[in-house]
Amino acid sequence: MLSIQEEDFDIATEYAALLESASNTGAIVTFVGLVRDTEQGLKHMLLEHYPGMTENVIQQIIDTATQRWNIDEPRVIHRVGELQPTEQIVFVGISSTHRSDAYAACEYLMDQLKTRATLWKKEVTTDGEQWLDSKPSDIKRASRWNENPKLTTPS
């Protein structure tokens, strides 16, 4: 399940959906990304995306993850539009027979999403507005998965 939406999401609802669609499940790993409230003078965050391409790219990442690890169909939600400090931005939920695959697939999905999905953040602060760029540390994290495709977890 993949959704790009303005509305907030509910962890309990997503967890229940993961349980419902799971088969022979021994582990569920979830990740939630939030708007940090520590940025100086942050009023809100604006999230823009490229409709159509964003869904295509994230679906490709999901497809790769489901081929690479023994997991059920992931649930991925990414919010767009105006988000306030501490609000939820992104959800990734993975169910699997074993925790190692669930952990690895969840981290892979987030690493790839942050560096490939066509989404852009703009910070609106008391001093003005500023578009954010990818962080070198995020790009480095994402590239770990390409260095040895046979690895199930990054080194």
Binding site: G33, L47, E48, H49, Y50, G52, M53, N56, H78, I89, V90, M110, L113, K114, T115, R116, A117, T118, L119, W120, K121, K122, W131, L132, D133, S134, D138
Partner: protein, 82 residues
């Protein structure tokens, strides 16, 4: 043969160019993306930046792709979602 394409600008590029969307008519129906990109960059020099990516019809493209009538080109900076 003249063809018409749609161009989209995302993130900070929309601010730099001053618009989010444009239509462009090309005299050459067999234009490569490289030629189209150079034409657009000549109008908007700020787009001459190696970190900018271009997608054609929702797929990342390189310079040797042939652009066809009705194609949608998107210019965007490095992504920052998640």
């Amino acid at each position: 043969m003249t063809i018409s394409i749609k161009i989209l600008y995302f993130g900070r590029l929309a601010d730099v160019v001053g618009l989010r969307q444009a239509e462009l008519d090309l005299a050459d129906g067999d234009a490569l993306l490289e030629t189209v990109r150079q034409q657009i960059v000549s109008t908007h020099p700020a787009l001459d930046d190696p970190t900018i990516r271009i997608a054609v019809n929702h797929t990342l493209a390189n310079d040797n792709l042939t652009i066809n009538d009705g194609d949608e080109l998107a210019f965007f900076p490095p992504v920052s979602g998640g």
